[in-house]
């Protein structure tokens, strides 16, 4: 379902949300006015649908009038009533069918379709946002920063190793570099408009290279892409620091993404399958000291997350 998310209509909606927020009002309004699809709202769709229906009804009435007139002519000329299409050709064919087999076949087909649909529903449910890639307030490219410039993920997402959230960097983290990097050379001596958004948020005067005093700072409202429902608890540090999982395992080839999209399904079986396969590094963590001794004694080498209780409900749901 969410694959449609990229559709322009949604962008328009997001943009309209932006338009109502005080933050980045100017930019957002620009986006909104530039986007002609904003006109195409949900109501428009309904109106079109209604019109279609209306035309169909009119067409049907016209057809009935025509066939009625045809009938009258036929009766006048032949003295018999004209056999309908049903009488003429459909019924003889229908009569050749074995009702049981037909009924069974139709039932089987319907049953199969229902089953497949139910299966699909079960496997996907709704709300899977895989591929979700909304427009962000700043056209930030991971491809440039993480890919080309090879900045370590944890430089910006600094809390990934010790907190639940990996956290989106605050604007002053950006400023560590962008105090100096403003790409004036590419924009005819002006600051790059995207970088300028950071300056506007934090209150940096690029002309004098200093912070504006008593500037009313405004946070940058990024659109959250990975929306794990609140009923499941996910902790970045558990995976990044303790489990030593690479960022790319879940977030995909982020260093190649110009615009970030949701790489994984974030569905439960996706989590569970990984937990079933990945093993715990019991050897190098003193927390597991006793367990490690015991496993050694038992001669076990692989100890998966599942064996460590990683597929138990209350590991994520509480």
């Amino acid at each position: 379902m969410f694959k449609n998310f990229k559709s322009s209509r949604n962008i328009a909606t997001i943009a309209s949300i932006f338009a109502t927020t005080a933050v980045l009002r100017a930019q957002a309004t620009e986006t909104a006015t530039q986007n002609p699809n904003l006109f195409y709202t949900d109501n428009t769709f309904l109106i079109l649908l209604f019109l279609c229906l209306l035309f169909l009804i009119i067409a049907y009435f016209l057809y009935r009038v025509k066939s009625h007139l045809d009938n009258i002519i036929y009766e006048k000329t032949t003295g018999q009533s004209k056999p309908t299409y049903y009488q003429k050709s459909l019924r003889p064919w229908l009569q050749t069918l074995n009702p049981t087999i037909t009924a069974l076949t139709i039932a089987t087909i319907l049953g199969l379709i229902t089953f497949v649909k139910a299966y699909q529903f079960g496997m996907n449910e709704v709300g899977v946002q895989q591929g979700y890639s909304p427009v962000q307030p700043i056209n930030y490219s991971h491809k440039i920063h993480a890919g080309k410039l090879q900045i370590d993920c944890k430089y910006c997402h600094s809390t990934a190793e010790y907190s639940k959230q990996a956290s989106i960097p605050s604007a002053n983290t950006c400023m560590n570099c962008h105090k100096f990097v403003n790409l004036r050379d590419r924009y005819n001596g002006n600051v790059s408009p995207e970088i300028d958004k950071i300056y506007k948020a934090i209150g940096w005067d690029p002309e004098n290279n200093e912070y504006i005093k008593d500037y009313k700072q405004k946070p940058i409202e990024w659109v959250r892409i990975h929306n794990l429902p609140d009923l499941s608890y996910f902790n970045h540090s558990q995976h990044v620091k303790v489990g030593k999982v690479e960022c790319q395992t879940c977030h995909g080839p982020i260093q190649e993404m110009d615009k970030v999209y949701q790489f994984s399904t974030l569905q439960m079986d996706w989590c569970i399958n990984c937990h079933r396969q990945k093993s715990v590094d019991v050897e190098n963590n003193k927390y597991y000291e006793d367990l490690h001794k015991r496993l050694k004694k038992e001669g076990k080498t692989v100890y998966t997350v599942e064996q460590n209780g990683g597929t138990e409900c209350s590991k994520c749901h509480y």
């Binding site: 969410f2 409202e221 209780g309 749901h317």
Partner: protein, 1009 residues
């Protein structure tokens, strides 16, 4: 702004936001001036962590569609400048001081992304010593109360701003001072050095100023008696931990008396049968108090007879000590041998005993001092050198203030967080008097009875938003630091006073002022003190004071004022949950059942069975009460076992007419019944009490309606003698538990368990509230409690047994047959009850969809998002600890407590899901804390330390009755407790193998019942 083609998995997912703090100011109701909040950035603070702007921080915000089932576009808003010590997703802890009552407990405030979400006791403070009472913990919700004043008020309801109001107030104060009109600052017992400092500055500007201390509850009897006896108007430091024999006359020191957390901590230290330190506790009282319910020997006594009991006790001890007895002109009724026995015990434990009394009569307290003096308790169990500052209220000052008001000599009054219009017994006189005043200012944070009469209301900050200090004990300074910047446009009282005194704005800032008060400390000590929350000066050596009072005189006075006949009497008392009523708008304290009566939400006329039979009353009857001409109409009746014959009791603190929607008009106000007697407030009345039974019925919302164990042995108790003979008394019979299957292997990793010591649990309810807060348990309200649908994950079962000539009656039928007088001889057991996390859990087997299963660490897991709500598990739970979400308790205006407004929701623990309607919930053993604790250890590459992980209940318990830990760790405290002879599994015979163990209650009585 809906996205029509985006769906969510279910309505509950969209609604189960635990982090739903809105990012936009206009999402709040108009009463929340976010813009102002944003502008008041305390730039002078070293860190910006308390800033409200920052608290939006990383929080995920569901912008437009909180109540819609379409997937909202969620924003992730990072900090603009990330404060150094705030990590989104990790909690921060700050030390501060609790100000929900005057005890001054040190506390630790847990904050997440800049908002406080949990209060716990601080280990550093000698008063709280790691625990906090139910009321203190509930205090956090008072800050997130939507009914708080958002702005200063003028002329009743006009909202105004600080600059305007300051100007008006300053000019008025100046004109009053100029005409030598009196200015009075009325404050509850205030032991803050900075406040005193501020008042001094205020006084310099307005010299006619005086500070009047006013508490709703008076302890002046002790103050005055000590003044009389030792020349010191103080409350001494009671060391219950050093006492081997405790005799208390009505003093509910485990529940409400002066500093309950501190006393509970100390009392339980000496309740340990294992190493022989087991005190003997006598309690003489008329109503069944929490302390009485925990006493070894409890003797019902009419409170009016207290004086003669105490004199008799004095005489008995004097007899033993060979000292002159007091002349007694009237023969005392001595409650069997109780006085004699207690005298014997006290004398035997000379210097290691303690006698306390609830009485507010200085003469009685003087005799009590005399007894303690005679027993040599001063300097050991009672320390008058390191005295307590927790109550300083003396009636005479306030009475003088009221008469000055009436006479018009006082022109300006500043009520600092005190509400005498509600709690002063002669409220109409005060109200009339206030009309004479030119300037009345109230600083209460919600509009209360006093505030509604005040011309100006200058709302104080909540104590979680304030800088401050307190000196609850001489030499123990406890600091308060803000953990969030003010939610509303409020200002600390210190700042207000300083501003009105014309101090420089910079100096008037609370932080600067408090720091300047302690400038002598130097920065290092100051920083450490703020970090620890306390500054401890070394204790003075406890000395034995010289006793100067005339005991015979006091005894004569007591005997003179004794009631002549055997009249009925009325007792006014505080409930453990609500105390004096100042937190009446806090739903958590209302939902907390009274530890004794188990009634939520109301006060009632508590009467004994004998009196009920005499008057033809039944429980839930409604009566009109007339006491000495003062009427209390339509108060329901509760028949209370243990209550002394001929006594009636009503709890104070109810019947608030001006407060938020939760507490408004709940119960009846009993303060008008408080009586002045020889200048002190008396909380009992003996004399003309008439009842008129109405035809109405009013159901009291009780969470427990059956009160005895019916002779079952899941609650085990024994006497100390029995225990000494055989430590495993009552647990001798070891069950041969067989299983049809091989069990699961719980030996690798952890196996969590809990040991609950019935001997230590006092039933105070601290764990109940702590669990309530930690786990986002909804408040359901009186109607739902009446339907028996309270949601508490953790409850305390209270069982009565009755002593009928040495035989214990626990069965309903026996008790019904027995004489009504048996109802007086009650013993009580409190059993905290929560999910027992059975290894062979009956609930798990019956769930059709695997919503509840077992973890390898021994936790019975409840997966809310899988639950379909068949309720079968709850039926199959022998402990009945599972709770069902009957309605959608959050975002539901029918449940207007705190879950349905944005501000109240800030108290929600973001690590715990808010449950949707139709799912089962129960104690999770605070799995979020276990997971966090384990993760920290893993991250730090170390083993888990025993005691590192605490559940909310075990952390909150003031008596250490609840111990949580890893059974697989042979050195953990819990492994040791599990091997204790007293430990047993409740309902072990059912074969469900609980992970919790209870420990037999030991009573230090000669005989057991």
């Amino acid at each position: 702004m809906e996205n029509k083609n985006k769906y969510w998995k279910g309505i509950e997912e969209a609604e189960l936001h635990s982090d739903f703090i809105k990012s936009k100011g206009n999402e709040f109701s108009e009463a929340l001036p976010v813009e102002e909040m944003l502008s008041t950035i305390d730039s002078d603070l070293s860190s910006n962590r308390r800033d409200f702007l920052k608290f939006f921080g990383f929080s995920v915000s569901a912008v437009a569609l909180a109540a819609c089932n379409k997937a909202p576009v969620k924003f992730a808003i990072p900090y603009v400048e990330k404060p150094q010590n705030v990590t989104p997703g990790n909690p921060n802890y700050y030390a501060s001081t609790c100000a929900s009552c005057t005890s001054g407990c040190g506390m630790i405030v847990k904050t997440r992304e800049g908002r406080p979400i949990k209060l716990d006791g601080s280990n550093e403070s000698a008063i709280s010593a790691g625990a906090l009472c139910a009321v203190g913990q509930a205090g956090i919700l008072t800050m997130y109360d939507i009914n708080r004043l958002a702005n200063p008020l003028e002329n009743g309801d006009e909202q105004t701003d600080w600059a305007k109001i300051d100007k008006k107030i300053s000019s008025k104060l100046a004109s009053i001072a100029a005409t030598f009109g009196g200015i009075r600052i009325v404050t509850p017992t205030n032991n803050s050095p900075s406040f005193a400092n501020a008042v001094n500055i205020f006084k310099q500007k307005y010299p006619t100023t005086e500070v009047i201390t006013y508490d709703s509850i008076s302890y002046s009897g002790i103050l005055l008696a000590n003044e009389k006896s030792f020349g010191k108007r103080v409350i001494p430091n009671y060391n219950f931990d050093k006492a081997d024999v405790i005799v208390s006359f009505g003093a509910d020191f485990l529940g409400t008396w002066i500093s309950p957390v501190e006393y509970t901590k100390k009392w339980t230290k000496n309740r340990n049968p294992k190493n022989g330190t087991m005190s003997r506790h006598y309690q003489f009282e008329s109503i069944l108090t929490l302390t009485g319910s925990n006493a070894d020997i409890r003797i019902p006594m009419k409170e009016s007879k207290e004086g003669i009991y105490i004199i008799s006790l004095y005489n008995e001890i004097a007899k033993l000590a060979g000292v002159a007895q007091l002349a007694v002109t009237q023969n005392a009724e001595l409650a069997g041998n109780a006085i004699k026995n207690s005298a014997k015990d006290l004398f035997a434990a000379k210097g290691k005993s303690i006698v306390v009394s609830k009485s507010n009569n200085p003469e009685i307290q003087t005799i009590v001092n005399g007894i303690n003096m005679m027993l040599g308790n001063y300097g050991t169990t009672i320390d008058i050198d390191n005295f307590s500052n927790q109550s300083k209220f003396v009636e005479a000052d306030f009475e003088k203030f009221v008469s000055e008001l009436s006479s018009g000599t006082v022109k300006g009054v500043i009520f600092v967080n005190s509400n005498p219009v509600y709690s002063y017994h002669n409220s109409s006189k005060l109200t009339e008097g206030l009309k004479n005043a030119e300037l009345v200012i109230s600083t209460s944070i919600t509009k209360d009875e006093t505030g509604s009469l005040a011309g100006f209301v200058c709302p104080d900050n909540h104590f979680l938003e304030s800088w401050g200090d307190a000196e609850p004990k001489n030499g123990l300074i406890s600091f308060t630091q803000p953990t969030i910047s003010p939610v509303f446009n409020t200002r600390q009282v210190i700042e207000s006073l300083l501003t009105w005194a014309g101090a420089m704005p910079e100096n008037a800032k609370a932080y600067n002022f408090v720091k300047s008060t302690w400038s002598s400390l130097g920065d290092d000590v100051w920083n450490k003190s703020i970090h620890d929350g306390v500054l401890i000066k070394p204790d003075l050596p406890a000395t034995v004071p010289s006793f100067v009072a005339n005991l015979a005189d006091s005894a004569n006075k007591i005997i003179f004022s004794l009631p002549k006949g055997d009249e009925t009497e009325l007792i006014l008392y505080q409930k453990v949950g609500l105390r004096d009523g100042s937190m009446a708008n806090n739903p958590w304290v209302h939902e907390l059942p009274d530890p004794i009566s188990k009634v939520c939400y109301d006060n009632y006329l508590s009467i004994s069975k004998a009196d009920a039979e005499k008057n033809g009353f039944e429980q839930n009857d409604v009566v009109n009460l007339s006491v000495n001409g003062i009427l209390i109409n339509e108060i329901p009746v509760l028949v209370q076992p243990g209550q002394a014959k001929g006594t009636y009791a009503i709890a104070l603190g109810y019947g608030r007419t001006q407060t938020g929607k939760v507490g408004k008009n709940l119960g009846k106000n009993a303060y008008p019944l408080v009586r002045t007697e020889n200048g002190y407030y008396s909380y009992n009345f003996c004399g003309l009490i008439t009842f008129e039974k109405t035809r109405k019925k009013y159901s009291l919302a009780q969470t427990q309606t059956h009160h005895t164990i019916e002779g079952r042995d899941y609650i085990r108790e024994a006497s100390l003698n029995q225990y000494k003979k055989n430590p495993s008394v009552k647990n001798d019979e070891k069950l041969n538990l067989i299983s049809l299957w091989e069990g699961f292997d719980y030996t690798k990793g952890h196996k969590w368990g809990m040991a609950i010591d019935l001997n230590k649990c006092t039933g105070c309810g601290s764990c109940v509230v702590s669990c309530h807060i930690e786990n986002n348990v909804p408040v359901v309200g009186r109607d739902e409690v009446l339907l028996r649908r309270e949601m508490h994950w953790m409850r305390i079962d209270r069982y009565y047994s009755f002593n009928d000539d040495g035989t214990a009656l626990t069965k309903e039928k026996q008790i019904d047959k027995a004489d009504a007088s048996v109802y007086e001889n009650v013993s009580v057991v409190n059993a905290p009850m929560m999910c027992q996390h059975c290894d062979h859990a009956p609930c798990e087997t019956v769930c059709p969809v695997l919503a509840t299963t077992h973890a390898s660490e021994g936790i019975n897991q409840m997966t809310y998002n899988r639950c379909i709500g068949t309720k079968y598990c709850a039926n199959n739970c022998p402990y009945k600890v599972r709770r069902f979400n009957w309605f959608k308790f959050n975002d539901n205006d029918k449940f207007d407590f705190h879950f349905n407004n944005e501000l109240g929701k800030m108290v929600i623990n973001p690590d715990v899901t808010v449950r949707h309607r139709g799912v089962m919930e129960k104690c999770s053993l605070c799995v979020q804390r276990i997971q966090a604790g384990k993760l920290t250890a893993k991250r730090e590459n170390r083993k888990l330390v025993d005691g590192e992980i605490q559940t909310a209940c075990s952390a909150a318990c003031p008596s250490n009755a609840i111990v949580f830990g890893d059974k697989n760790d042979p050195n953990s405290e819990i492994s040791k407790l599990f091997k204790d002879e007293r430990s047993y599994h409740m309902l072990e015979e059912v074969g469900i193998r609980p992970a919790m163990m209870y420990m037999t209650k030991i009573r230090n009585t000669d005989t057991t019942i």
